[in-house]
Assembly symmetry: C2
Homo-oligomer: 144 residues x 2
DNA sequence: GACGATTAAATCGTACACGATTTTTCTATC
DNA sequence: GATAGAAAAATCGTGTACGATTTAATCGTC
């Protein structure tokens, strides 16, 4: 017998991820950020000057996804893309002052968002850990 | 202070959903299906002759996403798209014999997949329920 | 039975996502 | 120091996603 999407874990994950993004949208829209751009910004705010590859590993995306996204963020004036002088194969990403300002504004979003979920902080952490565990089992993280 | 993506629930959800899709890919690729197409096929296998709007509600997608996807599935010979004679605004989707055959083949995937996760059946159900609960809180389901 | 409001899909534009390939640079070994 | 192979981004093609709008059909009310 065929399993209906409503009963499938994969669909629960798929649809909840979409619901999460659409819940973030109204918070990000005033800042002019898309959701993946917000992730890149947060990653760079934590450690500036990372390479494309390092961001790709952190966000589990491919360079073919990141390159155009980063170009849009560069065009928006939030970051600079520069070849590493020691290894010209790599491109380093540095936040501009505007990028840092934006990151500060974006920093308040997760807390504002947590309220929307109706989950306690410990529920949120538990769920996160379960998901990360499942994810790393499905797709082992690449070594740094 | 900025929260790093690695610590955020939203990123756990985002990256796990991607990992799930990429884990399904090798199982779907031999059938020529993409992941959202597989969801549509499963939904129709459970109840044939649904309208675009009903599938959209079930999968929580918009018609602007489904229309081109359904046209590709029609072009592949898996389903027929026909205006409802009683209400010409609606489009009804019916699996072809090829579509039914494909659905039968696809039906074995979730079980084959469950093994990959390393989770017990009850862990899977628990996680699914937690996610569905969160999803419906973030984005209440539209009435049928 | 006319007609404005509502509804269901479709269309349009923009932004991911990723497999496959290409380009450029670096590294290892001769 | 030439060169084969590896590594890092970028390019290309296809397929989602979705906001905003449009088109076509139906409904509600007079």
């Amino acid at each position: 017998m065929t399993l209906a999407p409503a009963d499938m874990l994969c669909f629960a994950l798929y649809s909840t991820a979409h619901a999460m993004q659409s819940a973030y949208a109204p918070l990000l829209e005033p800042l002019g950020l898309t959701y993946p751009q917000y992730l890149v910004l947060s990653a760079l705010a934590g450690e500036d000057g990372q390479t494309v590859g390092r961001i790709a590993a952190a966000l589990r995306l491919e360079s073919n996804t990141l390159t155009p996204l980063l170009k849009r963020m560069e065009a928006a004036g939030w970051l600079a893309r520069r070849r590493d002088s020691a290894d010209e194969r790599q491109v380093r990403l540095t936040l501009t002052p505007e990028g840092h300002t934006l990151a500060r504004q974006a920093a308040s979003i997760p807390a504002a968002f947590a309220a929307k979920t109706g989950l306690s902080l410990s529920d949120i952490h538990d769920l996160r850990d379960i998901l990360v565990d499942l994810r790393d089992r499905l797709k082992p993280p690449v070594r740094d």
